[in-house]
């Protein structure tokens, strides 16, 4: 159910993003989705890749600070109001979204949104109960 996401600390100076993607490219790791949160001093880059273990190890080798987090990928109808219906379910069940970002590729006719929750298991249960499709962790990297 859960998807492994890696996050990378990036100082806000030129060329750092290019360096991260370069390191991953050299290691033949494919980036499937990403989001960047930033302040004036630093940024946090979150990535879903096709091989998290390899990505973690090559980034650590190059002295990047990295962490692993569990997120989930949710199928959202690719039509107006699609995301809203899912957020309403979460809201009605008092589940906080820490952050979320979109997957570039679609799953069939649906869009895919990556969600980060404080309590992943509870969120999964609520979503499933409400008939929302959660994409399998194994499958998501091969979309």
């Amino acid at each position: 159910m859960k998807v492994e996401q890696i996050s990378v600390f990036i100082e806000n100076k030129s060329g750092r993003l290019a360096e991260v993607s370069g390191v991953l490219g050299e290691a033949n790791v494919n980036i499937r989705a990403l989001s960047l949160a930033d302040t004036s001093d630093f940024g946090i880059l979150r990535l879903i890749v096709d091989n998290s273990e390899k990505a973690l190890s090559v980034l650590r080798d190059r002295h990047f600070t990295v962490n692993k987090t569990e997120v989930i990928g949710v199928e959202v109808p690719d039509s107006p109001g699609g995301l809203s219906s899912i957020l309403r379910i979460l809201d009605n069940n008092q589940i906080n979204v820490e952050y979320m970002y979109a997957f570039v590729e679609r799953s069939g006719s649906n869009a895919v949104i990556i969600f980060r929750f404080d309590n992943v298991d509870q969120a999964i249960a609520v979503l499933l109960k409400n008939g929302v499709n959660i994409i399998d962790g194994e499958k998501i990297t091969s979309i």
């Binding site: 600390f9 990036i10 750092r16 949160a37 302040t39 630093f42 946090i44 600070t65 820490e98 952050y99």
Partner: protein, 446 residues
């Protein structure tokens, strides 16, 4: 400079607060020093366990002191001794005789605590009145004290000195430069008391607001609490249209009043009737010949609550014994030119890198490499603490990451007494020399 032209026409003695003490013949000063030193040694060997132990360790008894030179046989007192005896272990009188507590930052988490008896406060008042008078302050002056009132000794010392002289005190305290300027304009402040860097901040603000310093009543500045250069003196004098004088003190010894400029500005006259001053080689601890540059060591001669024997100030300076044109016989010290330890003075506050280390260590999981960047932006000191992230203090959520930074900044401000910006940097980005990180980059010196 208008100070020089005025000097020729004024009687030097007009600006001496206590000519009996300040113009005493050299032999008489030394006789008085020996007599008072013996009393102080009796006091500490009877009442302060730290000194009892130190004296026992080196086999010294107060009666062994035959001449002033014998002071070299006494052990030093260091900031570490004060830390080990925190808070009141070095006091030589019962708390019932102590009327005031002040403190300054220590080398680690705990501050240094000092006490004063009634008599100590009155000595302090006298010594501040001396250097304020030497700077030309009289009962006609309106003294604008922009030092922070609180545990820091600066504001209270100058406050007492001004009142003793009979000047009018405006205890405005620090901060809010616009209000400071309004009060200077409206209340006609004539003597400014603050750190030299804050003096320049005021000059900047005046320029920005288009206020001509000549329209103010300011005529003299008494700057202290941080080291400053002759260059800065010219700048303060030129931009504020004042005579800028320096004074020296440290809370462990008394606070301001230990030494201060006369109007000839050729070194700060030392209060030798209340202290013995030595210059030592900081590495060997040996007393250096007169006139050498080295670390200043101070012994108090009249303090009751918190006597200090051979306190290592860590300040580097030189003492001049030749006659000064002002008529004072008291020797003079140069502006301090550095430290023998890694203490930084930021906005007048003593900061030790070890304090920052301790704060960072307290934050769970954090044993990071760090570096302090001290800079002066628009004449205000700024402290940035760069912290290398590691996996323990790195989060995928921005909220938690920022919380870490805010928490670190809050704790640093509490412990240091001065605000610091925390900047997270990538691992290995702090330059290391032979594996050791360079802890401090002080851009103010460049």
């Amino acid at each position: 400079m208008h100070s020089e032209s005025n000097l020729s026409t004024m009687s030097a003695h007009q600006f001496i607060w206590n000519s009996n003490a300040e113009c005493m013949p050299r032999e008489q000063i030394e006789r008085l020093q020996l007599e008072r030193l013996l009393q102080t040694l009796q006091l500490v060997s009877g009442n302060v366990p730290c000194y009892q132990n130190k004296f026992k360790d080196c086999g010294f008894q107060p009666g062994d002191l035959k001449s002033l030179d014998d002071i070299q046989d006494l052990p030093f007192t260091t900031k570490e001794d004060l830390r080990l005896n925190y808070p009141y272990g070095m006091f030589a009188v019962p708390m019932s005789d102590v009327v005031r507590i002040h403190s300054s930052s220590g080398t680690t988490g705990k501050p240094t605590v000092v006490g004063y008896t009634k008599q100590d406060i009155s000595t302090w008042t006298e010594l501040v009145a001396r250097f304020m008078t030497a700077a030309g302050v009289t009962r006609e002056d309106i003294v604008h004290i922009a030092f922070g009132y609180g545990l820091f000794t600066g504001a209270f010392g100058l406050h007492y000195g001004s009142e003793a002289i009979g000047a009018s005190v405006i205890p405005i305290s620090g901060g809010n430069t616009d209000k400071q300027i309004m009060i200077m304009q409206d209340y006609r402040s004539s003597a400014l008391v603050c750190t030299p860097s804050y003096g320049l901040t005021i000059a900047d603000r005046l320029e920005k607001k288009g206020i001509d310093p000549a329209s103010l009543a300011l005529r003299v500045g008494l700057f202290g609490a941080e080291p400053w250069s002759e260059q800065m003196r010219y700048e303060l004098e030129g931009r504020l249209g004042i005579i800028a004088t320096d004074n020296y003190g440290l809370s462990e010894i008394m606070g301001p009043g230990v030494a201060g400029d006369c109007l000839f500005k050729c070194g700060m006259h030392l209060a030798e009737d209340h202290f013995v001053f030595e210059i030592i080689d900081p590495d060997t601890g040996k007393v250096l010949p007169k006139g050498s540059r080295g670390e200043l060591v101070i012994t108090s001669l009249t303090k009751q609550a918190f006597p200090m024997i051979r306190y290592r100030t860590r300040d580097i300076t030189r003492i001049h014994y030749d006659a000064c044109e002002c008529g004072r016989t008291l020797a003079r010290m140069d502006k301090t030119s550095g430290r023998t330890d890694d203490m930084l003075i930021i906005k007048g506050v003593n900061v030790f890198p070890t304090q920052i280390e301790e704060v960072l260590l307290q934050i769970e999981g954090c044993q990071p490499h760090y570096q302090l960047i001290v800079d002066r932006v628009n004449n205000m000191d700024q402290l940035e603490v760069q912290v290398e992230v590691n996996e323990h203090i790195f989060f995928d959520e921005m909220k938690r990451q920022r919380q870490f930074v805010t928490e670190a900044e809050k704790r640093l401000a509490t412990v240091l007494g001065v605000s610091a910006k925390v900047k997270l940097v990538e691992p290995s980005s702090i330059v290391r020399h032979e594996g050791k990180a360079c802890r401090v980059i002080d851009k103010r010196k460049q």
